[in-house]
């Protein structure tokens, strides 16, 4: 169960970016764009959510991509082809609302490009004109460029340091597109909370429908605890069952960002222990 069939190292420097192809036929069969999995790496492990970034129905596999930012992702990254992921549950969350909107702009920032990929694909399959904006800090850590080209009518790239594509942020590119008079019917955005907040700020005055896929702290991922709760349109919602996707203009991003910082001290302790060599998967 949950056997790793392929491993790709996108970026090996710290923090590394890695991708697994995992054998999970039941999850692959039911998965729809926008959904995620929760996994554990060992008996002592915590549960973390990761979005399904690609799949192969015939082979019964799903792809997960992650950056090694703390103990669990660093431990996960140590697994190799042939190893099993200790616990894997999914698909979780509501699928993205897919229909023919017209022209859609899919915006992925950093490793947020990976979860945008199946959504862009589904929107393309539904007959939309898909323009993707991919943002990265620098050229070397840009992921999924080829995959995004396959499911987009056009791909635009921005890098913070100007090493590739437009020098600047994804929001700069989005602003230019809107100001050039392009008619945009939907924007989908996934990436760091601050980026999603800024994207929503850009589209709000133009009343462009904007979906943001939220990445809050989760424990069970099935709606039983509320660790992932956010305020959307003044109401409390659970990201794991009501989302992860919400109308970005309704989301209280400041509250969400404060909640994401709840365990920074503990995360640091765990990571330091891991770097001293205590992290090891089952």
């Amino acid at each position: 169960m949950n056997k790793i069939l392929e491993k790709k190292v996108w970026w090996k420097d710290t923090p590394a970016i890695k991708e697994f192809v995992v054998e999970a036929p039941w999850i692959a069969e039911k998965h729809k764009a926008g959904q995620f999995v929760i996994l554990r790496v060992s008996e002592n492990g915590e549960r973390i959510p990761l979005t399904i970034s690609n799949k192969n129905l015939e082979k019964g596999t799903i792809n997960i991509l992650f950056q090694e930012v703390g103990k669990t992702t660093m431990t996960l990254g140590k697994l190799n082809v042939g190893d099993n992921i200790f616990d894997l549950a999914g698909p979780l969350g509501k699928p993205t609302h897919i229909e023919k909107f017209g022209t859609v702009v899919c915006i992925g920032g950093g490793i947020g490009i990976a979860p945008v990929h199946p959504i862009a694909q589904a929107l393309k399959d539904a007959g939309n004109l898909v323009i993707s904006i991919l943002g990265a800090r620098t050229k070397e850590i840009l992921i999924y460029e080829d995959l995004m080209k396959k499911c987009s009518d056009e791909v635009r790239i921005t890098t913070d340091d100007g090493s590739y594509g437009r020098h600047g942020f994804v929001t700069d590119e989005l602003k230019s597109m809107i100001e050039s008079g392009m008619k945009i019917d939907l924007v989908v955005t996934i990436g760091p909370a601050i980026m999603m907040k800024m994207v929503c700020k850009v589209t709000e005055p133009y009343k462009i429908l904007t979906f943001a896929s939220l990445n809050t702290i989760m424990v069970d991922g099935t709606g039983m605890c509320g660790a992932c709760r956010v305020t959307v349109g003044g109401k409390t919602k659970f990201v794991c069952v009501d989302g992860p996707e919400f109308d970005g203009h309704q989301v209280n991003f400041d509250e969400m960002m404060a909640r994401l910082r709840q365990y920074v001290d503990e995360e640091k302790v765990a990571k330091e222990l891991c770097q001293q060599g205590t992290c090891r998967a089952a």
Binding site: R47, T72, M224, C225, A258
Partner: protein, 476 residues
């Protein structure tokens, strides 16, 4: 021996008092997660068993939701035959080590015990626990009698008390049983909700292991409604019947301002982190939890007691229970309230929260509350708490745990067309006995039907369902 000597009236036996339950010192135990009570010694168990008068009409059996033959097992205890006693219990209850610990016996078997009319009732729960623990320590695994295979397959959704009880019965009736569990560990509330200090997880594992040995298949990490729907199970996977025992696990919040501040938890999250994820062992275990100094738990049920006592063990200096009615109305077991009190939990009664107060960084700093007084009885028969004007006050805190109840998780219902629900989202069944839903071949029981109740009531529902499901399978 002369006739006269024979007729001398029997000397009245000295009355044996209800035997005490040895437990850890309250100051010690408030700092650890080890089980609070040690259980009876052999001597206590024997003394207690003799207190049972072996009534002709044992009403205690009717007081037990799964109808254990109580006098019969207690008689075996008095004869020193613990394994025999275990056998008697297991005819009706496959999880005695759990029920002996967590059942509210004072409201069930012990409430109706005849001895209790003039004296304190026989400690049926403690004896059940003693027998189960004795068996685990001394017994060898014995396969129960299992009926010939019927070739029929049943899927059980949820591995809490209701699902487990139903599975144990169905497997003995010769059916194939698969339990689908959403979390990575089976046991439901027994593993994520009830803390180690009340129900050691090794005991739950032991009982689950027993079910596995007798043939129940467990599929963990399977969220029904997502990875499979109920219709998939019947149409694609060949299950002949489905039992929905997915519980009422959706936490309620208070809907007051500040509830999404950092440091506000649902009791489900707080207890899941601590119990299931073992966050109290962080960083040995990866899931973190904060060691808050001043913690208030809102609510008066067993979940509230479990949460506040967990907070205390994590190092809280002040751990409060805030409850809007008075102590008499608290739904928690009396024993748990007393345990909490001895450990140093502070009770703030007749008080309701108004808003959670936070700092600029988004962390809880306090709770504004208002005093209540008891007014006229409401629908539940309990006197309704009414706010006292002008009695607002602020209590300084760094964490608030909300334990005011749970609702039905809608995931299974949403993805199962044709399933009738009531206005609260709980599944409607024909009757308590049949557990039949509006959908053919689909049965339901436990908290997903009744709303949050007790472990033993859920087990009782599981047993009823097993009979009804077996009946249905016969006629297929």
């Amino acid at each position: 021996m002369t006739e006269e000597e024979k007729e001398v009236p029997k000397k009245k036996k000295p009355k044996i008092p209800r035997q005490p339950m040895p437990e850890q010192d309250p100051h010690e135990r408030a700092k650890n997660f080890k089980e609070v009570t040690y259980g009876f010694t052999a001597e206590f168990a024997l003394n207690e068993s003799i207190r049972c008068i072996q009534c002709k009409k044992p009403v205690c059996i009717d007081g037990c939701p799964v109808n254990i033959n109580i006098p019969e097992f207690i008689k075996k205890v008095s004869e020193g035959d613990m394994l025999g006693a275990a056998k008697v219990i297991k005819k009706s209850n496959l999880l005695p080590a759990i029920c002996g610990r967590v059942c509210p016996q004072e409201d069930q078997c012990e409430m109706v015990c005849v001895v209790g009319k003039k004296d304190k009732p026989v400690s049926i729960g403690r004896l059940e626990r003693y027998v189960a623990d004795y068996e685990a320590a001394h017994g060898t695994f014995e396969m129960p009698e299992i009926a010939p295979k019927t070739g029929k397959k049943v899927a059980i959704i949820g591995s809490g008390p209701s699902g487990l009880a139903c599975a144990g019965d169905l497997i003995q009736m010769g059916h194939e049983v698969t339990i689908f569990e959403a979390l990575h560990k089976a046991g439901g509330v027994l593993v994520y909700g009830i803390p180690e200090f009340r129900l050691p997880k090794s005991i739950v594992e032991r009982e689950l292991d027993y079910l596995q040995k007798i043939g129940v298949e467990f599929k963990v990490n399977h969220v029904i409604g997502r990875i499979r729907t109920v219709d998939d199970l019947i149409q694609k996977d060949g299950y002949d019947a489905v039992f929905l025992a997915n519980g009422a696990g959706l936490p309620q919040f208070m809907n007051i301002s500040g509830e999404n501040l950092n440091g506000v938890y649902s009791s489900n999250e707080f207890l899941t982190r601590s119990n299931l994820m073992k966050a109290y062992n962080f960083p040995e275990y990866d899931t973190p939890i904060k060691k808050y100094k001043n913690v208030a738990v809102i609510g008066g049920g067993n979940t509230a007691m479990d949460s506040v006592r967990t907070a205390l063990r994590l190092g809280a200096e002040n751990a409060y229970i805030i409850y809007r009615r008075s102590r008499d109305e608290m739904p928690a077991r009396k024993e748990e309230i007393e345990h909490a009190e001895h450990e140093g939990v502070q009770f703030i009664m007749l008080t309701a929260p108004l808003r959670v107060i936070g700092n600029e960084k988004g962390w809880v700093t306090g709770l504004e509350c208002i005093k209540m007084e008891l007014g006229e009885p409401d629908d539940s028969g309990r006197r309704r708490p009414v706010p006292v004007k002008g009695s607002e006050f602020i209590i300084n805190l760094d964490a608030v745990i909300v334990a005011i109840g749970t609702n039905a998780n809608p995931l299974v219902a949403q993805t199962t067309p044709g399933l009738e629900l009531n206005k609260w989202g709980y599944i409607v069944v024909d009757s308590e006995k049949t557990c039949m839903t509006s959908k053919k071949g689909v049965f339901a029981g436990g908290d997903i039907v009744t709303g949050g109740a007790t472990v033993i009531l859920a087990m009782g529902a599981g047993r009823n369902a097993s009979k009804s499901i077996s009946e249905y399978l016969k006629n297929l």
